[in-house]
Assembly symmetry: D2
Homo-oligomer: 386 residues x 4
Amino acid sequence: MQGNTFGRIFRVTAAGESYGTALQIIVDGVPPGLPITDAEVQYELDRRRPGQSAITSPRKEKDKVRIVAGVFDGHTTGAPVGMIIYNNDTEPFHVKQYAKVMERVRPGHADYTFFIKYGRFRDWRGAGRSSGRETACRVAAGAIAKKILAREGIEVRGYTKEMAGISARPGLTWDDIVANAETNIARCPDSEAGERMIAKTLEAAKKGDTVGGIIEVIARGVPAGLGEQVFDKLTAVLAHALTSIGSVRGIEFGDGFEEARRLGSEDNDIPYYNEKGEVKFKTNRSGGMLGGISNGDDIVFRIAVKPTSTISIDQMTINVIKKRNEKLVAETRRDPTIVPRVVPVAEAMAAMVLVDFLMMWNGYRSLRRDMEGPMLGQDILSAPNV
Amino acid sequence: MQGNTFGRIFRVTAAGESYGTALQIIVDGVPPGLPITDAEVQYELDRRRPGQSAITSPRKEKDKVRIVAGVFDGHTTGAPVGMIIYNNDTEPFHVKQYAKVMERVRPGHADYTFFIKYGRFRDWRGAGRSSGRETACRVAAGAIAKKILAREGIEVRGYTKEMAGISARPGLTWDDIVANAETNIARCPDSEAGERMIAKTLEAAKKGDTVGGIIEVIARGVPAGLGEQVFDKLTAVLAHALTSIGSVRGIEFGDGFEEARRLGSEDNDIPYYNEKGEVKFKTNRSGGMLGGISNGDDIVFRIAVKPTSTISIDQMTINVIKKRNEKLVAETRRDPTIVPRVVPVAEAMAAMVLVDFLMMWNGYRSLRRDMEGPMLGQDILSAPNV
Amino acid sequence: MQGNTFGRIFRVTAAGESYGTALQIIVDGVPPGLPITDAEVQYELDRRRPGQSAITSPRKEKDKVRIVAGVFDGHTTGAPVGMIIYNNDTEPFHVKQYAKVMERVRPGHADYTFFIKYGRFRDWRGAGRSSGRETACRVAAGAIAKKILAREGIEVRGYTKEMAGISARPGLTWDDIVANAETNIARCPDSEAGERMIAKTLEAAKKGDTVGGIIEVIARGVPAGLGEQVFDKLTAVLAHALTSIGSVRGIEFGDGFEEARRLGSEDNDIPYYNEKGEVKFKTNRSGGMLGGISNGDDIVFRIAVKPTSTISIDQMTINVIKKRNEKLVAETRRDPTIVPRVVPVAEAMAAMVLVDFLMMWNGYRSLRRDMEGPMLGQDILSAPNV
Amino acid sequence: MQGNTFGRIFRVTAAGESYGTALQIIVDGVPPGLPITDAEVQYELDRRRPGQSAITSPRKEKDKVRIVAGVFDGHTTGAPVGMIIYNNDTEPFHVKQYAKVMERVRPGHADYTFFIKYGRFRDWRGAGRSSGRETACRVAAGAIAKKILAREGIEVRGYTKEMAGISARPGLTWDDIVANAETNIARCPDSEAGERMIAKTLEAAKKGDTVGGIIEVIARGVPAGLGEQVFDKLTAVLAHALTSIGSVRGIEFGDGFEEARRLGSEDNDIPYYNEKGEVKFKTNRSGGMLGGISNGDDIVFRIAVKPTSTISIDQMTINVIKKRNEKLVAETRRDPTIVPRVVPVAEAMAAMVLVDFLMMWNGYRSLRRDMEGPMLGQDILSAPNV
């Protein structure tokens, strides 16, 4: 309820601040018998951690994770999986840089809104709980979700589709993404565009500025039937999950906002039985969801990531204790862009949602019976015409 | 969990199909003493109901609501408010039109995915539970949410910003929206653009086709502080609520996807104290939310609505019982566009979210103490530099 | 959250007051294809309704239920099942009896606590939302839960074990309960004791007084494995469900409070493989739950029901508007005991919990793999002794 | 959902096994500005930990807690509070004692039911997740809940009312409990009875046996109004919370099961205005709750704790891997009784529930308006008599 738990059957709870002692993650609803190691979780965390490239924050955090509960002899036991990541970089002399401006809210950040909620008790050390640091917990939990999905033949992949105003070429395929998304620090499978993205980002960084971008995520192998009715459509819960990531400003499914400009006859995906008797769709404008329920096609969505709010340029702001306008001097340690670091976070959130819906759907359908036969309401066919 | 309940403290549960006996709505968490009448709920329902104009479905449904629980002597009592809307148009001879194609899924609709979940037990009568008819329940519940918000000085307004590819002029103000959004059947405050939207929609309709559009919603008077940490940001829950509406393909907050193309220095909203000592922002690119928590400025978001999937043009599709490809002949009764009808639905969902967060936040802060004083961690200021 | 919804996957939401227009029930999570009729729900409601015997309230309410959503052609569709029960007995001249004492709280009732919460907006007509009338909703929802359980081979039965201080003979079997619980108005399978219970109740009633009793509920056919870890044990959720029924003052599982007086060696149920290779237990002191999870044996629990608070004897009380002590004159229309009427309510709550846990458990275990083989941690067997 | 999270606004999530690396606790919904130290949490943990007396398990665990998130400069920040307790006693040569019987389920324990759910992946080391060890997490979270309650003038106290068949003398007052409950290792405020309880327990222990008992918990200072309608009554949620503790076999409120034997006229608590104009009750048979909502009087309930299932007497049982009946030899390390150790756990659960309801109620009532005035429905007073 307070926003630090996500999911229903596969349920992630997290705690921890940017410069607190540690981040804690508890993942409930993990089925027993899943082989999992610290190293597998670490692999995903390393994709997100700071200091991994020239276009990300130079903060020194190894984000070393340790599984402390729910795993025994290399396998999950059905008990909640507990993980902990200690923060390294928390010495008072480091934190002091933030202390000097503790009363001043940084434009674009949650400093002001956290002050409204938590007042003088707000943890101002590197944004505390509102720092992007919390996304390490999402990635750790997502690593487990991904392993569960892999056993079910489902894979989730994200990549940078646009950054610093530069777009990847259209028509990138799943194979392109699998082969190339991780080959450059922009996480763009179109490596030529990726290079230009990086150059443009470094150029902005040199001026003390930052850039944003657009991430596309695709989930392949998702069976038809995931998503609930009305309020908990798969679209809706994915939207919830993804826009809960800091700096995400919007989400669109399939062709998204572009669909608003089409005619109905141009937008419907036509289903058909292929020669194997499988249901396929001629197109995937819907992003693999009809009425908010997965239709067996690739799940596709995009999120908009704003430029990092922390910039190395002086800005005016407010001092919330002295209640006056003040100048906030430029900061030096920051991410020129967070777009490539958000890619694994977005994948993690999508994976968590998919596992959860899978369990939900399985629980529900386990009590279905007599599914074969004619549709209900056959007698209406013989109703009189009036 | 099954998707027919939304919210935490202010909690809406709904049931009912397109051609079932009735729609039922239960709204839990309504504070006692709110004056409310059937007519006030009816007012909002009339904005959504079919048959209201040349560009909406001609289906004859009065959507007559009756409050049957939770209200006594014209006031809410603190008990859950129960409402019922009987369907009129449910005679077998009417339903027969759907019976003829009960085995064929309509492209763009949830027919196929509902078949996957519910098999031969799917209610195929006008899409059953997956019909847009369920949005009447959202609007009825939203009417109560709006009344609660009004007492707190909060108002939620939506309008059509784009339809059939025609955009309203930029720079529309709150006053424009209040004064003009309801003056034309497009629900566009720019009446000149509205006329062109209507013409273009009717033109598509004549060819049996349909159009989509973009709706903007603004909430004014929202206090700073609404929204939870991490997973339940106000952005995230609004995204959940709004993308749960059928046909909504995306959502963006503030300047949304456009922000992905900006520099950080161009995107931050600068706060300041005005002469009255109030905190204001120079710009509202963020749509009134920082770190996913309301900042006191207008809440602003946009949703993309796809063109109505039901068209009067023949389409190929599958027969899920006979398991073969078949032609689906054109339907005649449909909405040329649902965009103007989605406007009150979008407002309703936003209002429900805001009331819920207001109660959440109030419950939480009621146990805060000693909020005045210096920020925590003053001693760090005297830490040595290393 | 406000208390009008119960359950997680199988989820019941209800509204309605004692003298409001109607009671509404929405049951979400009902699997598709369950045959269900109004009459089947009515059967259970008739077991609970007032006026059924000399020892229950003479109030005239037929409790006629109508399914208005979620059922098509005699089967559930997977959509939420909506039901409505209109109140008959709501004419102002009837309600007037309550109006005369609207400001006075009735001892033993929720009048005072509802006044604290809802103040002058409390619906005082026959206790409004805090009336036992709401239990009709529980029974209606429970009728659906029971039908689902019946398909899975699970049956839930309750009976009066003690009333007005008279106990049924010990050693009643499942067959006794099935055969005889419904044969007398006390709902006691020991008909001789039942007759004495009835006589004692009528004797108290003649003096304007009321009696309580103890109900035992048994669920047969429950598979081992239902119940979650730690906070959501089957015991805990049953306790929640059952003590949420008005007038229930306690619950005990298996041998319950008696176990507190035993030695460990007297209390453990010893498991064994029978000749068919099935796991059985020599005794069932635990009431079919170990560590809060069903063990395949009969689920057994008892609840204590206090005497009806409404009595036909003058009592002192407070006038909450005039803020003074006043006499409350004797009421004439009341239940000499509610014990037999609580039996179907208790069964309904237990059935709802069992269906919910069944879906929960099925969802969760659907993702288990590789369950056969040696226990984890075999290498510990070769650890050195220190 | 999986049972490792409890609460709604004040929400506790826990992980950790008996012989795993660590126990983790995350408490969400803690208001900002609460002064809290590791030592304060440790104080409560020390009341629960093993090895504290001759009648508890000799296991060597210091249960040393560390707060790693959500607290800054000695105060909560509004972020979730994360705590960790590392297990000391986890060396393979210690765990080996359990390994030798890993395939055999211990009678009375959750070994069998966990095996059904988690199969060969069950953590058998000292019962893993189903061990009473998890209650350390409850106590740690409860320590925070208690501090919040203390600021609101609410105190929760538990004590041993009966153990090994010996009852404390009737009529113990709040002052007796505060002064004496912690003065003997039985946690019985009647120290004479406490001595006999201890003697009887040691006598059973000498024979390898164990004993149970009854704990009473009282919460003083609880304002009237806590508890929701219908399904989430304060009684119901307390019952859920308390019966979720392992070994608890029942709960009763106020006079509980005894009320089932009374007449209505003997059971109603009569309210009155005292000379200060405060509402008081002549008696407190209801345990401070009417209609499941607190009435301002002391909250009183009792729980039955069964004798420890682990005994030092040989028992027959099943080997679930070899699927045959086998003897389980006597264990040596065990609690002769857990009753005194359950006292702080019961207090913790009650405190968590009370804080949660307090926030719930405050959130809800914050939107009430116009509470003063005449009751609704005055016009019914002039209805005709028919």
